[in-house]
């Protein structure tokens, strides 16, 4: 990992990138993009990555149902056991259940995550997904793309693309009303 830049501030400082209205605009944009591309000839599953991605998936399903797609399957994927960075970063994420209670074979899957950065989470998510079945296609939807890919991964649907300096080693976080009180995207 690159050395942390001097000007990134103290550990406590946060820089808001999207407020609640900004998150809503990004979400609206993401919904429109997905709605326009959903196939009608195969089962479609919206699968959120824990955490935050699962809440986003639930929101997307609600919105898309209002738009006439009440047939979407809903799943939640926990990728903790597939991560490549657990020992490296010495983090210890809570292992939680994956919930995919439908047949994944031949379904079209839209993976949903909050922030796309290195692409390693998505790499792990695809490994995890393949252990549950063989989907007809897998697409990637992210609320925020902050750049900085380390894997050959490209999102299909993006709510908002952020322009961050490649040397900025701060992380981008999403807060959601459901879990954190209010919608917000910020750097820290």
């Amino acid at each position: 990992m690159p050395k942390k830049a001097d000007n990134s501030g103290s550990a406590g400082s946060e820089e808001t990138l999207l407020d609640a209205a900004g998150v809503k605009r990004a979400m609206d944009h993401l919904c429109r993009e997905i709605a326009g591309a959903l196939p009608g000839d195969c089962p479609v599953a919206i699968i959120g990555l824990r955490s935050r991605g699962d809440e986003l998936a639930a929101r997307l399903i609600e919105r898309l149902a209002e738009g006439g797609r009440g047939d979407l399957l809903h799943g939640t994927l926990d990728i903790t056991l597939y991560r490549d960075d657990v020992s490296k970063r010495m983090i210890q994420p809570q292992v939680r259940a994956t919930v995919i209670d439908f047949d994944l074979d031949d379904a079209c899957v839209v993976l949903v995550d909050d922030v796309l950065h290195t692409g390693r989470t998505i790499r792990a998510a695809m490994d995890a997904l393949m252990d549950y079945g063989r989907p007809a296609a897998v697409r990637l939807a992210v609320l925020v793309d902050r750049g900085g890919r380390e894997m050959p991964i490209c999102p299909d649907f993006v709510g908002k693309t952020l322009k961050l300096s490649p040397s900025d080693s701060r992380r981008v976080y999403l807060d959601l009303a459901e879990t954190d009180g209010a919608d917000r995207v910020y750097l820290k």
Partner: protein, 331 residues
Amino acid sequence: MADKTTTTAVRRRSGRSSGFVWGRKHLLGLEDLEPAELLHVLDTAAGFKSVSTRSIKKVPALRGKVVVNLFFEDSTRTRTSFTLSAQRLSADVIDFTGKSSSVNKGETLVDTARNIEAMGVDIMVLRHAAAGAPHLLARKVGCSVVNAGDGAHEHPTQGLLDLFTIREIKKKVEGLTVAIVGDIAHSRVARSNIFALRKLGARIILVGPRTLVPDQMRQLGAEISHDLDAVLPACDVVNMLRIQFERLQSAAFPSVEEYSRLFGLHAERLRLARPDLLVLHPGPINRGLELDSAVADGPHSGILRQVTNGLAVRMAVLYLVHQAALAVNGK
């Protein structure tokens, strides 16, 4: 690399963790565990349950790691459960049983373990007839040690899977009344259960003949009774222990028939119990002695659920001790 304070902040902000960090590289018993640690294992085990129900029953969490089953006492169920758990985490598993080993040639436990460790082992799962053997081993080897039963001392993964099954079915542990029935004096299962259940706020009643339920057990925070019929109506859970004939030095009760009549759980006695009574048994069952087939295979029985949950709990334990070892060893 991020320093420690940063990773703590990341952990909290990312919401990918309960904020609790498991720090134990060994699991030697439940007596020393904090309630938060017990709950963390149970929550982690819940996350592992779906691995056993999907079509590809394997995750890469321990890929390239080696788990050794070091069993100096007979065991089928526990060893199989540990083997399958380790395999479902993608670890390589070696079985090393006392009977076929150099132990018969006089090699000590520590020598045996060190020799095996020298082959490159990450986790040792030890079953031994001597209480404290895993504690000794943990001091002498560099890898993680998991206690799979030491004498009449502890059987922590059995205690955890009993706890997990109770919580899964009853949706809570606090406030429940749990009777543990049978040979409490010789039972490591009973001790691990008592430690864990007490920490999570259950009421425990130990039931059995005076010869097998000594008064000193009160010191563990449990009540004692010698009358199952009197206790049964108040119970949410009964954990029926196996009569371990191999551990009984002398006749602890006049006859098997009398024991069964006084302390066995059979269909007729079950009429005294609540309709939602949960019946557990660590196996293998002496059918017709401590448990009737009608009860063991009946609607109150959680026995097969225990076996299924044992996999998820052991996967969680192997995963957690290994994560802690990585952090301790700094790699």
